[in-house]
């Protein structure tokens, strides 16, 4: 990695907001640290990032972000251990995926050095914002959007890459019951479902609202053709445990290549938990629920790490999952968060010291 840090201009805030924050009662992603990183793309290239006080953005009403949804993002977390060391989890993978998403959305790719050194410089500056309470973390949001102007439906000529951070508590609270979707879809073959593109998320809001009105917290997304394959759980990847085997759908152009997902697969395999990465039908899951072989379902993603599912609805029937003493969900969540927070050895080289 080439060094550019010396070139990052830092404009420090004159008045920290840290004393206004109740670190014992943090919500998810709703208070923001003192500084942010801003990197501009214009005249055909990305310019050196700057760090500046967290502040509003000023954009022309014709900026393409408002009209054509040309945006991508990532989600990451920073943790502080008991010795005040700061840790990230597989951050280069976020950088790579951001660029994979950007390519599909016709957004110019960010130099990895700008991403990594910008991120680390920002975290060093705002390290006091990293919460230490169990289950909390500094949520990191890198995002890129079209800031260039004009109503022509074509890629913008200017972009902004920004990293903001938010001290956060846990993403979900309480039981998650899910609805297996029979009508709406998240993504198309040949579409943008594998990208962390903004529009993929807005498209889920309405079907999720409908599911909530029926008493479910999330939607299980199925393929758009016949709704026979299980693909994602809300904005997370999905795992199903049948007997003692963990099953998850293979990544594709419809399914996000989740970093938590692939970490779970690798971790489970290393601990001799049988894992199958294969197409998973709704029929198979419903049958397993009926004959008692369906032991667990859970979502996997950065924000919640692992989010256990207590039951699901399908074609008007509700299926409850058993409450297990030693669930894979609890075990794997503890193993991963212990690695993330430097409470356990990291045989995989996932942890990244800031």
């Amino acid at each position: 990695m080439s060094t550019i840090t010396n070139d990052i201009e830092i404009i420090k805030t004159k008045a920290t907001k840290i004393n206004e924050v109740d670190f014992d009662n943090l919500k998810f992603g709703s208070v923001f640290s003192d500084h942010m990183l801003v990197c501009e793309y214009k005249d055909g290239k990305w310019h050196t990032p700057k760090i500046m006080p967290y502040q509003p953005l000023t954009l022309d009403p014709s900026s393409k972000i408002f009209h054509y949804g040309q945006s991508v993002f990532e989600g990451m977390k920073a943790y502080k251990d008991k010795d005040k060391n700061v840790w990230l989890f597989r951050p280069e993978d976020n950088c790579k995926r951001l660029n994979i998403s950007s390519k599909r959305m016709a957004i110019p790719e960010i130099p990895e050095a700008y991403f990594m050194e910008g991120l680390i410089t920002l975290l060093q500056l705002d390290k006091d914002w990293i919460p230490t309470k169990e289950g909390s973390s500094l949520y990191i949001r890198p995002f890129v959007f079209a800031s260039g102007n004009g109503f022509h439906a074509s890629p913008a000529d200017e972009y902004k890459f920004i990293i903001c951070t938010a001290p956060s508590g846990s993403y979900f609270s309480g039981e998650v019951k899910v609805l297996i979707e029979e009508k709406y879809s998240r993504s198309a073959n040949g579409g943008v479902g594998f990208a962390k593109a903004g529009g993929n998320y807005a498209g889920q809001f309405y079907p999720t609202q409908l599911a909530k009105e029926k008493g479910y917290q999330q939607v299980i997304w199925t393929d758009d053709n016949k709704h026979e394959y299980i693909e994602e759980a809300g904005a997370m990847n999905i795992f199903v445990r049948i007997e003692d085997t963990l099953v998850t759908a293979p990544t594709s152009d419809r399914i996000l290549d989740g970093i938590t997902r692939k970490s779970i697969i690798q971790l489970a395999e290393s601990e001799n938990i049988p894992v199958e990465v294969r197409k998973l039908t709704v029929t198979e899951v419903v049958e397993a629920a009926k004959n008692g072989t369906l032991k667990e379902m859970f979502g996997a993603g950065t924000a919640a790490v692992i989010s256990p599912i207590s039951g699901f609805g399908y074609k008007g029937e509700d299926y409850e999952l058993p409450k297990l003493e030693n669930s894979y969900a609890d075990y794997l969540k503890k193993r991963i968060t212990d690695i993330q927070t430097n409470k356990a050895e990291d045989p995989f080289g996932w942890r990244y010291k800031v």
Copy 2:
């Protein structure tokens, strides 16, 4: 329609920019009129619109528009006739469709009175910006986006509805050769393709770039399952003329219910041009090109009205369309623009006097 006009606060610009504009050499949607309409949704309701000088928007970096693509828009045009009367084309249909799009994107629907009276008040104020040169018009861009803050992937609690206008020349120039898409897709069954949602457009940019690198200007979108049905042309609806019959795909949850599309259907039928609204296979179009029965293809949408297609590529083969003396495309474009600009009678009641 209830009257709210008296309530719209108008803050006029102190310095018009109209003298800076070269009305004889207008591009599409790149210079903007003096004023814009802004309407805010907060505390659970839409508030009375305001008209103010065209100006930058200020948003928190955590505004959901930057992260989750929660946005919808419309495209409309205003024309001035030789007596300086100002005309719109089916504007209530744009308002209805904006709300159909909003519903799918979990955005609160706009009261029709705010849309219509806001639009008319804005056009009356900026009527000098409506160009009169043949082929030019005042392009109108109503849009709604999530302005509420926070990184939680859920609908925003605040939105902005804005109307900006841009004196514009024609959208396309020159010949349009298209590529029938075999890999990428625009929309999923059960997805958001029927909505004018921002993300639908960004998702098209990369496949369109690839098509441009191969020498085509636009992509013909096909179904995402087997790419066997022809659905849209770039950001337009598509019409194909086989012998003397016009064929266009039926609207669905994948296909936009275009106002130009439905106007063409109604106009053609009233003039005894045979029209078939039915599924159209790629195979049928390729066969018709080979046996000489394929006479025309054209895109239909507000920006370009009708955009004739000169040929298409499919599976590495190029097919040229004949150059016709009396094409449906030219005839229908003239008929519609004559109605839009008050050069011809309007038996359909489409024209709307401002």
